[in-house]
Symmetry: C2
Subunit: 510 residues, 2 copies
């Protein structure tokens, strides 16, 4: 499991963090032309570029596209640990991995995301098919199931998705970001796969020790029932859902006025909806709504409430109801949900130890989408699905800021041994020894200098967290030994050459 403490065990090992701010060089052509001149001996290529520059072109602006970022080694290492914690949970629940292309046919994505559609990145028409970058991993999964006529599958998929959204990078909102999805497709007994999805969210958020959290649960059928009994016409159910979905960001008054103004609901309907969607609780609330004079008469609401009750039973068996809240304000923005929906949010008080309190929003979400696969099938054959997506970018932001605040540093490499020499003219000895270590599967480095100073070599171990140095000098070569140095304790022992690999392995045992 991912815990921040132990990360720093090997500390003192990270190169200075690169400044990631954009270095805009536009308009800097004067110094470019001047400095480019003594470019030296590579002839043709440089002359080409120089000619282009003289012709009015300029150096490219040095930045990543808006809303995207590089990961320096420390960030890549943190992300690898985070993703591996998530993936090991998915594997613990028996999921297989699949992969789909970053590119999809444009028509595959059209009509699946409601208002989100305007955020889809489209590719330039360069001849051939019209393409777009995937917006999530769910629609490609549904396309995959339909295309291969698969009716039963438990899969995970960890990959980047793309949205031309307004980036809010401090809160972990990017235009290119990872999604970590776990989905169960197939016709099964009600709420068993749904309960497992919630168990997974609970396991991951607990393992990551992100602080206290709550998982809000609702059901699109209950919401549709509410809309119905409040007098909303069926054609307005999805738009109303999208408006309700904003309740975690804006107050009810604004949501109400959007419903009445933009969506054309009557003020009375809006007020009645308001009474329902401000309710949240547990089993008791479910029971109360099952007795509600209007809702209890509504077929879909009753189905939803019955399943919600069953879900709570299962969550009790899993021992996780303490973190679950049945919340009628939860709506989820996407069109394709048809049943249970859920969203996990971190509770604010746990960020007190950070310099500035974070507002990270939801860190996981998902739900049931029984109709999506059918939208891809010529005969409309349905494959019921339920799934969860872990909001890895927001979690990553929190861990990154927590790591920064702690001053701890992650090791970015796994090198176990530095092969070093104490005198000049021993490059050949280093190369022979390091080659033996590599061939034995030991992670080893040497400095890329013919005659590095011993101090520099040992300093490199300290800087990058390498625990052992294998030193071969003239005396060691003559004696057929290697001096093995423990970098932390500075203790050195001569080891017979033929026993070196075994000794290194012994020292590195956990």
């Amino acid at each position: 499991m991912l815990r921040l403490g132990p990360f720093a065990a090997a500390a003192r090992c990270l190169p200075a963090r690169p400044r990631l701010g954009p270095l805009c060089l536009a308009g800097n052509r004067g110094s470019f032309a001047r400095s480019w001149l003594p470019a030296g001996d590579r002839g043709a290529l440089y002359r080409q570029v120089r000619a282009a520059a003289a012709g009015g072109e300029r150096l490219p602006v040095l930045k990543t596209p808006k809303g995207t970022r590089d990961h320096a080694p420390a960030q890549a290492a943190l992300r690898e640990r985070l993703l591996s914690a998530v993936v090991s949970c998915f594997k613990r629940h028996g999921a297989a991995a699949i992969d789909t292309p970053v590119l999809e046919l444009r028509e595959t994505l059209v009509g699946k995301y409601g208002e989100g559609a305007k955020l889809i990145y489209e590719l330039k028409d360069q001849g051939g098919e019209l393409l777009a970058l995937r917006y999530d991993l769910t629609v490609p999964f549904a396309r995959y199931l339909a295309m291969n006529k698969i009716t039963k599958m438990k899969r995970y998929h960890v990959a980047k998705v793309y949205r031309r959204d307004n980036p809010a990078t401090t809160r972990g909102r990017y235009r290119e970001f990872y999604q970590c999805d776990f989905d169960i497709a197939g016709q099964f007994d009600p709420m068993i796969p749904d309960a497992e999805c919630l168990k997974i969210v609970h396991e991951i958020l607990s393992d990551l020790q992100l602080g206290d959290f709550v998982i809000k649960v609702n059901d699109r059928r209950i919401l549709n029932g509410v809309f119905d009994v409040c007098g909303v016409p069926e054609s307005q159910f999805i738009p109303a859902c999208c408006t309700i979905d904003k309740l975690d960001k804006i107050p009810w008054e604004e949501v109400r006025s959007e419903m009445v103004g933009e969506k054309g609901l009557s003020p009375e309907a809006a007020d009645r909806i308001g009474e329902y969607v401000q309710l949240h609780g547990g089993l008791d609330l479910i029971e109360q709504l099952l007795q509600d004079p209007q809702l209890s008469q509504n077929k879909v609401a009753k189905e939803g409430l019955g399943d919600m009750k069953l879900l709570f039973e299962y969550l009790t068996l899993f021992g996780i109801t303490g973190k679950i809240s049945f919340d009628l304000s939860l709506a989820r923005g996407l069109d394709y949900y048809t049943g249970v929906i859920f969203e996990a949010v971190l509770l604010q008080q746990d960020h007190e130890h950070l310099e500035e309190p974070l507002s990270v929003g939801s860190v996981a979400g998902g739900g049931r989408y029984d109709g999506l696969v059918g939208m891809f099938d010529a005969k409309g054959r349905k494959v019921p699905c339920v799934g969860v997506s872990i909001g890895i970018e927001r979690i990553f932001s929190i861990l990154e800021q927590r790591l920064e605040a702690s001053g701890e540093k992650l090791r970015t490499t796994e090198t176990q041994v530095l092969v070093a020499t104490p005198q000049k003219h021993l490059l050949a000895a280093r190369m022979k020894l390091i080659s033996e270590l590599w061939d034995a599967g030991i992670k080893a480095e040497m400095l890329y200098k013919k005659d590095p100073k011993l101090l520099k070599q040992l300093q490199y171990c300290e800087d990058t967290g390498i625990p052992l140095a294998a030193i071969v000098g003239e005396q060691e070569l003559a004696d057929g030994v290697v001096k093995l140095r423990d970098v932390a304790t500075r203790k050195e022992v001569d080891i017979p050459r033929e026993k070196l690999i075994d000794e290194i392995r012994r020292r590195l045992e956990p």
Copy 2:
């Protein structure tokens, strides 16, 4: 290390391989409309879609974009093993991971790929920056170094890149494909990092047991020297390189006529080049060329040959010269190389055991590019770099076809225990037990049915390769035990509930 034999140890565990052929549904509107009608109770969304269909729209074509593909679980599992073998070699050599966006500013990529530029995927101008999909991982790495003013770094990067090339999927050529890059940036003593890159190629190709291979090595400076002494003007060096690069695909006669026809070289120059580029050998050839009356007078060729000699010395220390061929026909297609270049090819005879002999071309390549980072720097500051890219798609194709030919199957999940019940009305018991196992970090599944038959549950273990079944029936519940079944031997033992987790861990020890 990746070996194909052991993959199948857990055999009998793969769901039928999905048929990946495109299922074109265009024009199938009749059956779509008919089957869509009884869509049921999801109201609004379905009616919207149905209305769209009635309005003349059709079901999306069910395929992935040209030159791309999905990975089914068995393929994803094979790819994960392959990538992890490559990454562990990169880590063994002390590299840190970085990540960069799939999207780059268009201007970042412009002018770096010569003839390759026409294969760059560009994004539609949707307002804002002009973007493109990365074409390789090398230019983004150079951009990253320049942007962060990093002058020394050893990094690996495994990620997808995009080229609008003509796909040849049986040979592993796709439009979306993985690159696995290892690069060393920094000013070091000559040929030490270059030699390590070749060692890495040697290690990876040996570990993967792909059969016999050879790593061709050359140096752009030697080629430039050859062009120079043959009377080629400097402005034609790069185009001449691109033509020479085709020598592995087309015979010398055609290359010659392209040089004379398209590139405008004199027939005499082309013939003299022809004499050089058909040479290949080892140290003896280097010595011979160092004595060559023309080349020995050429400054850059002499530098290149001197470094090539040094490189061979180092490769001798690494013990890998047996697989290295100094080959003057090797040119590499990319503009940015400035020194050593290399390419690994599999030797054909090793594919005899496959049904059809494969022609997979090169499986790794790379070289030195000392000028690329400087192209991004306002002051033209250079950061010398050398790197290697593993041609993972081609290797994947070979392993996939080999696996298929062997009839062996990969396990696609890692589930260790199936939680099962032998009687009805025991769902709660299963859920409680599986929850305990998950919380103890054990990989466990159960069927998503209230009352599955025991036989079905055991069959699932056999089908998916789950080694253990933990069975709780009424008797076991009464006795406070769980029946632990070894799926392979069918032996069952009652284990006290409180000792179950330890017993499972003990059984799963390697």
